[in-house]
Amino acid sequence: MSNAFISSLKQGTRQFGMVVDTVACVGCSACVLACRNENEVPEGCSRRWVNQVVEGRFPDLKMEIWSESCHQCANAPCVSNCPTGASHVDEVTGTVQVDPAKCTGCKACMTSCPYNARYVHTDGYIDKCTLCRHRLIDGLPTACESICPTSAIAVGDLNDPSSRASRMLQLRNSKQLHTAAGTRPKFSLLV
């Protein structure tokens, strides 16, 4: 890890986000299993999932596959609606995190999320993707990114134009989901 990286983490200037290449993603679900393994996600719960959308009428069909998780919104309604501050923006990575010690399980965050990215953990608190914060602060890639066999997932600092995620966004057309909700997601799909 470079000193500049550590310094920027301390200054809180990082805005980690995720880019998923819908052309490269084959829907193998390796990312889902890696996430489950890395973060000890309980059986029956998903921090990550894979979507497949087929449009048109046979034989004129168009298919899009992508792996999805929390969109790490910059204007996160789960954070603003949380009555206890359990849902918060991590100052180091700019990601949305949940503090289980403060969570009451009121589920206001779940009804606030336009992506339905949260679930009730078997311990009672509300859980979601942390963007592998524990790995990011060590300068490691997220579990989903590191296991993806087609390099369809890129996680990086969107404030850093040289990060792989930023470069992918610069080179390819991209879209974001449900922007009408006004949450300014940091999750983009390359199309």
């Binding site: 309604p77 501050g85 206001a108």
Partner: protein, 320 residues
């Protein structure tokens, strides 16, 4: 899970409980609490109005019973909310912080202030009750403190109840309207709609409690405009939804042709608002006897409104 619409088939591997295929994290407990909180808000508003307008002699049942109903009903509502929490041991966390951007945080403290003001009204009303004062509990020394309340103190307390009641009733609607991911709830009319519905329900409860026909006639003259206003707010909200952006339009289809249409229009609008209005108008005109059917229907309509709105709002999200 597979969701289908014409020429589009969406498949997702996500199978989170109470999230897929449609969100259902607030089942019956939350709408039941919203109804009870609205009812309590209405009771406090009506009671305060009676005291502040010095109409105690005209509404003896309201003066005697509204404060006694409010606290037990609010406690029941809070208990239902507690049942809904998935991390019950952390319930105290609501009161270790105040999150200014969170309506639920405002609501938590609002509940507490209603308990404080309503609790004083509750104690004062009990202290005034001669039959109760002769009981063993009523003979305890501290009730004399409430007995000693002067009229001016009582009026100040009524102002507090009025503000707390309006705040609580409005909060129950604002809580839903601030969820950006649930387009069906995203209307500024939700707050006043739930407040007026709560006032109508409280008025109906007082009509059912009252044994004096004169007082029931007076309550009828409050209930009728409240129900009419409630009907206007419901229709305005539907118009608001059906003339919003593309997402609002799609959400409004839940009530205008979608799966909740029959239940909403039949139970909330016809049974809960239109039929009671007709019954009350006929009673005011003296054509039909004033019956207890109308207040029962108003209470039922208020509960149905909240149950259906919470369910329909959760069922319609942004999808995949």
């Amino acid at each position: 899970m597979i969701m289908q619409s014409p020429f589009v088939e969406t498949t997702t591997t996500r199978v989170n409980g109470h999230v897929d295929p449609v969100l259902n994290v607030w089942p019956w407990e939350v709408p039941a609490d919203l109804f009870l909180a609205g009812l309590v808000a209405g009771l406090l508003v009506i009671f305060s109005a009676v005291v502040l307008l010095r109409k105690e002699e005209k509404f003896p049942t309201v003066v005697k019973w509204a404060p006694l109903y409010a606290i037990p009903l609010l406690s029941l509502g809070l208990f239902l909310l507690f049942l809904d929490l998935s991390y019950k041991l952390h319930a105290f966390r609501f009161y270790t912080t105040f999150q200014v951007s969170s309506p639920m945080s405002w609501g938590s403290w609002l509940y507490l202030s209603v308990f404080a003001v309503g609790g004083l009204q509750f104690a004062y009303t009990l202290a005034e009750n001669h039959a109760w004062r002769s009981t063993r509990l009523g003979k305890l020394f501290f009730w004399k403190w409430f007995e000693g309340f002067e009229v001016s103190t009582r009026r100040k307390l009524a102002w507090g109840s009025l503000v707390a009641g309006i705040g609580l009733g409005t909060y129950t609607g604002v809580l839903l309207s601030t969820m950006p991911s649930r387009p069906l709830w995203n209307s500024g009319l939700m707050g006043p709609l739930f407040l007026i519905s709560g006032i109508a329900a409280a008025c109906a409860l007082m009509m059912l409690t009252s044994r004096q026909s004169q007082e029931r006639q007076s309550l009828l003259r409050i209930l009728l405009p409240a129900v009419l206003l409630n009907l206007i707010f419901v229709l305005m909200w539907v118009v608001d939804m059906s003339h919003g952006n593309a997402t609002n339009l799609e959400a409004s289809q839940m009530l205008l042709g979608g799966s909740y249409t029959a239940a909403f229009w039949a139970l909330v609008v016809v049974v809960g608002l239109l039929v009671p209005t007709v019954l009350q108008v006929q009673a005011v005109r003296g054509r039909w006897n004033l019956s207890l059917v109308a207040p029962v229907l108003v209470l039922f309509g208020g509960l149905a409104l909240r149950v259906l709105l919470v369910q329909a709002g959760q069922a319609f999200g942004y999808g995949v």
